[in-house]
Structures are given as structure tokens and as C-alpha cells.
Amino acid sequence: MAKKDDKGGTEEREKEDLKMAKGYMGKFLSVYLNDGRIEEERLSEELCRDYLGGYGIGARLLYDRMPAGADPLGPDNILGFFTGPLTGTPAIIGSRFVAVGKSPKCAGGWGDANCGGFFGPHLKFAGYDGILFYGISSKPVYLMIDEGQATLKDADDLWGLGVTALEDTLSERHGKDVQICSIGPAGEKLSLTACIMNDKERAAGRSGLGAVMGSKKLKAVVVKGKMKVPLNDEKKAKELRKKYLKETTGAYPVFNKYGTAGVMHDTVLCGDGPVKNWGGADTPDFPPERIRKISDDAVIGVKGYKPYGCWHCPIACGGKMVQKSGKFALDLNDGVGHKPEYETLAMFGSNLLNDDLSSIIKINEICNNLGLDTISVGATIGYAMECFENGLITKDQTDGIELTWGNTEAIVAMTEKIGKREGFGDILADGIKVAWEKLGKIGTEYAVHVDGEEMPAHNPKFIPGLATTYLVTPTPARHTQGGELGIPPGLDEPEPDKYIYSGQADLHAKLVAIYEVVNAAGLCMFGTLSYPLRSLPEQLTAVTGEPYDLEKIYEVGMRIYTIRHAFNLREGINPLTRNVPGRMIGDPPLKSGNVKDITVDHKTLVTEFLERIGWDTKTTIPSEASLRKLDMEFLIDEMKKINTFS
């Protein structure tokens, strides 16, 4: 393999080791799929310090290396996988990595997807902080990394396999100690609802990056190794872990006992969760006794339930359960499936007026095996159901399937068809926006998406700050960025009245920055909701040696947010031109339920937020002053080419 630094030149390895930032393996791979070259590149200390990791480093590299206007499913798109400095370390909860690339969904803008499981830490143990994939392979391949040795291998025999069979085959071939990232048939078929899977049942779900991976004919990445992540102060890092394990707070009790299934009942009851494709309301349409059937004790009461945790996670919000018999018996892993997360329970449950837990467990198996984003697929079926209810599509079009609310057999069958792109499933496989276009732009009010990304199961009518998050964040309609879902325990900031729309911008900006850092550092946001916030700068300092406090977190977080946004601006994307679904903001307002009569003043929220962070309130171009404050002068000339400077 050739060795380079991330600026493209070659340097002596010894000098680089001495300068290498701590918390990093110090290098990433560039894999050129068109000709099979693999090059090792050094990560500069500057890049690590300024952009941290995950989608921070990913966006900075892709901004430099990808031309504007690239076809997201073409050879010029670059698909990346990046860990953060806290991935694979004693930090709570250092289990995550981020997939990055140009999204084939969101008007061809920035795309990323965050995932837990075990792949992230093991990528570092195999010797690398990240991987970039360029070009398109002439035939299916997978990348095998065995402790510093990377090889592209033929995947002809693997193409077409579901994720479960694929992982079993690769484990058999390379050893049980491998960790695998892969796509299922949905990604191979370039479905925009396809995701990237890890550990069979963890998903990097959003932005349609499963289709990007499929477009490159890249079936899997397999990693193996036992290398140690260099830490600046290992003793301190371990002490902090021990200390904070005893300081659980916030969401910990619920997530530890139930996982996110523990919030299902409350979230729908209070109006935050979706009911009947966001057109229904909690108590009238999906009352508490129905929600309870797919929530908390009902979920962990399923036969054979056992908790599952990502790498070294003390919360272990996941779970496994047995469903070997009945109408929706599981076909794989000897009848053992993964506990559906809240998003899955909500999008296939209350969203479709379905209170049959066994059907949702089955759907989870289908989505995990075929490699589908459960948020997007559940939302798309909801759109189709409402069109069906209103006679805009008929049984003749839906392959004879009655897409009626709560029809469990129909929901399960259609999910499978979407994953395989069969029949009407082919129309729905690319999500709501494409389905709406293919069907002749019908049922516009039922199409709840922002720029092609389906809205997740959290409602801006209940948490108005989510309107800013869904509309302005570089990846639209994302609930795990923007921070409005939960104020971290220990953040000492005044809490505004959420329905007084003016005056929320400062808190929103701080939450955005905090969660940018959490995501880029390789941490799980559930840790941020379950342990005191001060653990974040302390752990970053112990691991990297860089002195972190909240002010530095705000600075680094806003820099990461800005580079992702700059990627979009260069593509000609102004988030203010994104569509705003009426049901997202309550236009018209619901007439019943716990968010009735609410119409969110998203314009005030967004305008004040843009002013607060120094972006033009019409073009969203960052001001020269704001770029200089973030040491991003390199963007100033580029932004001038887009429009006049503010």
C-alpha cells in the first residue's frame, strides 16, 4: 500500500508518530474501486484537532476531494466510514462510527448516517480511523482489513445475500472475531431507503447511503484486529469511566430497562410520536391501551428477551427476543430477532395504527436482513396507506394488497416487497418523494418528508425546536442531530417556553454544537442523555490531550456543522428552499389530541437561529466574520462564488 498524509504528500513515519493526535490510529485508507488500488493516508493533527472525527473529518475531506455536481450514484461520489477519537476507548459510550457521502436522497446534498454496534471500535483495532471508497468496482467486492493489511476480495458469491447469511458466511470465512459492515439486497438494488448494516441488526439508516454503497458494488467491509488505541492519559480515561458509571442520571433508568421501547407509550400519548401518518392524534386514534401493546413491558416481556449492548456500553438499550411460532415467526438466526427501537415501533406501529407487536418484530427482521431504513419504509407505507384510503391508488396497483390502516399482513408483505423492489414495492423503495413523483404527484399533503428525507418519529408540534433541526441541518429531517430531543443533564442554561418562538436561538445553537461533537467524537447520544454533560469535555481531554471545555465544544461543533453546510451550499442547496410539510408544523393544526391547535412558527425559529450563528437569513451563507471566528477562512472565497457576501 502507498503511504501519504491527508494533504497528499509523503512524510517520514517516525516524525508523524510523534505528532500523531491521541485517540486516533493516525491513518485512514483510500480505496480506489475502479482499479483496486489501496493507499494508506496519515491523518494530520490539524484535521483531528479542528474537525474531531466522524462526519467532521469526513465532511472536511469530502469537501476537498469531491467535485460539486457529482452524481450520488456515480463514480465521483466518495463513500466514507469514520470513527471518532473516543471510539474504542474507555469513554462512555465510545461505540460509534459515521458513514458519509453525497446523498442520493436530499437533492444531492450532504449525507451521513451514524451507527453503533461493534464495527467502529474494531475498525480502529484493525489499525484505521476511517476509510474512503472512490469510484465504482467493475464487479462486486468486499474489503477485508486484517490488522493493518487491507485487501479487496471478490464478492460475486455474496451478492444477493441478505445481511444475516452474508455475515454468517464472512465469519465462517475469516473468523468469528471479525466485525462487518454491509448492505443487503435493498442497497444492491440502489433503493434510496437502503441502509448500511452492522452486527446484523444495527443500522446506519439515513441519507440513502446503502444505495451509494450498492452503486459502488461494495458488498461489505470486514475488519479484524487487536491494535491498541493510543490515549493521551489512559489512567485518567479509565478513572473517568469508573467515576461516571456511578453517576447515571436522566434517561438512564428507562434506556437501561427498556431501551427506547420505554418511551413509546409516553411519546405517542403526549403528541410527539406519529399517529396515522401524522394526520391522526394520540388518544382519539391510537389510545393508551393500544400504545401499551407495543411499548415498554410488552416489548421486554416477549419470550426469551435478553438485553443487548453495543461495544462496552453500560446502558445496553438493545435486546434480543425469540419469535419462533405464530403468523409472524422469525425465519433467521434460529427465530431470534432484535428488539425494535422506538423509531421502528412508532413508524410501523402508531404511524400505521398497528398495535400488533409480533408483526413489528417480524418487520424489524425483514428490514435488518434486506438492509432497509425502518424510519423511511414505515413513513413511505404510511403515505401509501393514506393514498389508498382516499382512493388515490387501488388494489390493482398495490399487487392486490389492501393497504388499510393496521392491516398487519399488508404491512409485512409490502415491507418485503420494498426490500426486494418487487411490484408496488418498486414504486415505494426510493421513499415518499420518489413514490409521489412516480404516482403522478398524488396526495401531496400526505407526503411528509423534507427534501426527500422522511420525517422521523418526533414531532415539531410537540418540540418546536425540531422544526429548525429538520429544516436547517445539513441532513434534513434528522432527529439525532440538532439536539432538541433532550437537554443534556448538567447543561446549565435557562429553558425557554417552547411555544414562545422568539428567544430560543441561543440554546438551539449550543445544543447543535454539543451534538455535533458527540456524533463526531464517536459517542452515542444516549450517553449524553444519561450521564452529566461535564463528562464530555473531561473524557475528550483525557483521551486526546487537547484541553476541552464547553466553549471549545461550541467552537468545534459549529465548525463541523458549518463544513457540512458548506458542502450543501456548493451544491446549490439553500435549506430555506426545502419543502415544509404542513403536517410537520401543524398547518393546518390538528383538531384533537395533545398537540391540537398548534402551528409552529418555524420562520421565527429559523431566522433567529441563522442570525445567532452568523448565517445570512436569506441565502444561509455564513458571514465572513463567522468563518474567521471558526478559522475557516479557506471557505470565504468559495462562498463568494455562490452569492454576494453578507
Binding site: T260, C270, D297, I487, E495, L529
Partner: protein, 87 residues
């Protein structure tokens, strides 16, 4: 009188004086006395309900009733929900 207050899958009974009118504000003051460990998660040091906590009386959010002055009688179902993220 005792008023049943539910949160998640848990329930507590909060004792309130029978001869006096009770509202949501008074109820939470009584929770502070009887269940201080739960109270600290719901209210700040000044006794205000936290931003992340939602209160429902008989299935309806108190914002559609009389807010913290919503009057309560024996038999009312009070439900408290802290906002939590689900993924």
C-alpha cells in the same frame, strides 16, 4: 384525599388535604414532601416544572386546561412524562 400520579409504568399516591382545593402546583409541592427523589427529576430548585416534563390530567395536557392552576379532585388521573429521545 389521595391523588394517583403515574409516570412511565410506575404509580404513586400523593396525599392532599381533603378540605382544601388542590391544583397541579399544590400537588407537586406535596410530591416534594412525600417523594423528594422523584420530585428532583421533575422540578427545578425554584419549584418550576422542568421544560422536559409534561403533565396530563385525565389524558389532556394541562396547557389545554388551566395550566399549573388546573384544579384536581379525587379520582383524577395525573400522568407525568419527561421528554426522552427515542432512536
Amino acid at each position: 384525599m389521595n391523588i394517583k400520579l403515574s409516570y412511565g409504568t410506575q404509580e404513586i399516591l400523593v396525599e392532599c388535604p381533603k378540605k382544601q382545593k388542590t391544583n397541579v402546583t399544590q400537588l407537586f409541592k406535596n410530591v416534594r414532601n412525600s417523594h423528594p427523589d422523584i420530585y428532583q427529576h421533575w422540578c427545578d430548585k425554584d419549584g418550576r416544572i422542568k421544560y422536559s416534563v409534561q403533565v396530563f390530567v385525565n389524558g389532556e395536557h394541562i396547557r389545554y386546561l388551566n395550566g399549573m392552576k388546573t384544579e384536581l379532585t379525587e379520582g383524577d388521573q395525573i400522568y407525568v412524562i419527561p421528554i426522552l429521545a427515542g432512536g
